[in-house]
Each structure stands twice: as C-alpha cells, then as structure tokens.
C-alpha cells in the first residue's frame, strides 16, 4: 500500500520501498476519459505473465481430455460407416443408394451436433497446427483408400459377402487410425502455445504474494 502511494506521488521515481525496485508507472485511458494510474513493476508484470498461463493450461487439459477420452463417438462413427458400406453393397436401385447416402450424411451431422453440444470449450483456430489438418486429410485418404482397395480385392478374388468384408475392414482401419492420429495431432498444441515449462496454479501464485 505504501509502495502504491509512493508510486502515485512520485511517478515511480522512488520505486518500491519493499524491494528497492523502481516502480514503472502505467497510465492508461479507458472508456469515457476515465484516467487511472497503476504502478506495475517488473516482478508484478512477470507474475502476471505467469498467471496468464494457468487458465490456458486448463483449456489444453480439456482439449486433450476430450480428444483422448471420448471413444464412444469414434465407435459410433465406425458403426455408421459399417452400416453405410454394408448397405451400399446390396446393389440397391439408384434412389435407394441416394437415400442411404443421405441417411449416412444426416447421421454424421447429427453426431457432430450432439458432440458439439457436449463440448465445453473450443480451441481458437489460431492455436491449431498443421498436424490437425494433416491428420484430417490422412483420415480421408486412409478411409477412402481402404474402401477402394477392399472393393477391388473382393471383386478380383470373387469373395462371398464382399460388402461385409469391405465394411468391416474399412471400419477397422478407421478405428485403428483415429486414436493415434488424434494423439499425434494434439500432442504439439500445448507446447507450441505455452512452451514446455510446468505451470503454477493461481492459488500457488497467490500464496506466494
């Protein structure tokens, strides 16, 4: 308090009496010509910078928890894929194929909406890395490639129940790919944004003051 008053009176020239540091006065005008002065020294500024890290760590905790812990939506997506591929191979008339495709897309959209409603936080777009887009593209390539390859092989080898084999292999490849790809995509998000230093909590910092 004394340091604050001194800082107000002398413009920071005398500094903080407790630490002997010069207090750097900051003048900021906000809103309707509301003039305030806050003395901020280097130590306080450094603590404020540390304080910023803590809530951002919580955001990354939540993003990682969602990416690693939510396996139900992955299984549901794989099940939808299996149903679509198995049904698509039944040699349906064109309207039946279009109906099945529409149902599949509708189910995926509904799943996305449900998942979005359960999400508590969404990471800002500037925080994603190239890995996120690469894993998304690779997911499409792996799924599409598996579908095309198994279709070619089942027709070439004239296997019975080819559509079921195609659906099972494709859904299995999707399941095997999604987990590691997700982990790989999010593994660099936190360190890229916040560095590798271990965080401190708000409470720990406040007890330190």
């Amino acid at each position: 308090m004394l340091a604050f008053l001194v800082g107000k009176l002398d413009g920071g020239a005398l500094g903080d009496l407790g630490t002997g540091r010069a207090t750097r006065p900051v003048r900021h005008v906000y809103g309707e010509a509301k003039d305030m002065t806050t003395p901020v020294d280097a130590e306080q500024a450094w603590k404020d910078l540390q304080r910023i890290r803590v809530p951002q760590e919580r955001v990354y905790d939540e993003v990682e928890r969602c990416a690693q812990g939510d396996q139900r939506s992955t299984y549901v997506t794989a099940a939808l894929m299996w149903l679509f591929l198995a049904g698509y191979g039944l040699k349906l008339p064109p309207w039946g194929s279009f109906l099945m495709l529409a149902l599949y897309i509708g189910a995926l959209v509904a799943l996305g909406v449900v998942y979005s409603r359960r999400t508590r936080v969404r990471l800002h777009r500037s925080r994603y890395t190239w890995r996120s887009f690469a894993s998304f593209l690779a997911g499409g390539v792996v799924s599409g490639g598996t579908i095309v390859l198994t279709n070619f092989l089942t027709e070439r080898l004239a296997l019975p129940y080819g559509n079921l084999i195609q659906a099972t292999v494709s859904a299995g490849a999707f399941l095997l790919f999604v987990g590691p790809a997700n982990r790989w995509a999010i593994s660099r998000l936190r360190s890229r944004a916040l560095g590798d230093r271990s965080p401190t909590t708000v409470h720990e910092e406040e007890t330190d003051r």
């Binding site: 540091r21 006065p25 809103g31 901020v40 280097a42 130590e43 951002q56 939540e62 936080v121 708000v202």
Partner: protein, 114 residues
C-alpha cells in the same frame, strides 16, 4: 521512463486477466467451464463477465432454454487485441531496459513458480 503502450487497466485485475487469458485460447467457452477452471463463484464470474461485456471485450450468448440453457462466452476481436496488447506491455515491462532491474532475481523466479 516510457509508458508501455497497450497496457489495459480493465483487464489488469487478476480475475479479469485470468478470464480473458482463458478466453484468448478459445473460440468460445461455456460458463461452467470458465467458473470451474478459475475456481470462481457464479456471481463473481458473472460480475466480471458483464464488466468485460460492457467494454465490448466479450460476447455472452445464451442458447436453449430450461434445464438445457447454455451460456457461451466468446472474446471479441477488440478483446483479443486488448489482451495481446496487455501481454505485450507486460513483456515490455519485464524485458525493458532502464535503470531499474528489469527481471526478478533467479531466486524470486523460483519462489513465484512454486
């Protein structure tokens, strides 16, 4: 001694700084997530959010109704700019050259990190 440009009195208080820092990492966050992450009460968080909303730093969006009512909080472009300016000002204070020591001593770093 020069005044760091970008220093923002509105988001300087610790609770508001934490709220804005959390929102800066997100597209949006819902109210309970912010409350739980920062260990704040509903009323304390609500008060800070409305102060920031009045300044145009964030948007509060209510969705649904009844028990499924959900409150999403989003930092505006103005709020994001203010936060980035404030962080830059804090860094300038820490790193700035001058007659005063610009960085806390190593033992103070260790204490602050505990």
């Amino acid at each position: 001694m020069s005044t760091p440009s970008g220093f923002d009195e509105l988001i300087h208080p610790s609770t508001r700084l934490s709220v804005v820092a959390l929102l800066a990492a997100t597209e949006w966050a819902d109210f309970p997530f912010i409350r739980d992450s920062l260990s704040l009460s509903d009323s304390a968080l609500s008060k800070q959010l409305h102060t920031l909303e009045e300044a145009g730093y964030l948007e509060i969006q209510k969705e649904g109704g009844g028990r499924k009512r959900r409150t999403k909080v989003r930092l505006t472009a103005r709020g994001r700019t203010a936060f980035e300016g404030h962080v830059a000002a804090l860094r300038a204070i820490v790193e700035g050259a001058g007659p005063a020591p610009v960085r806390p001593a190593p033992h103070e770093h260790a204490e602050a990190g505990r």
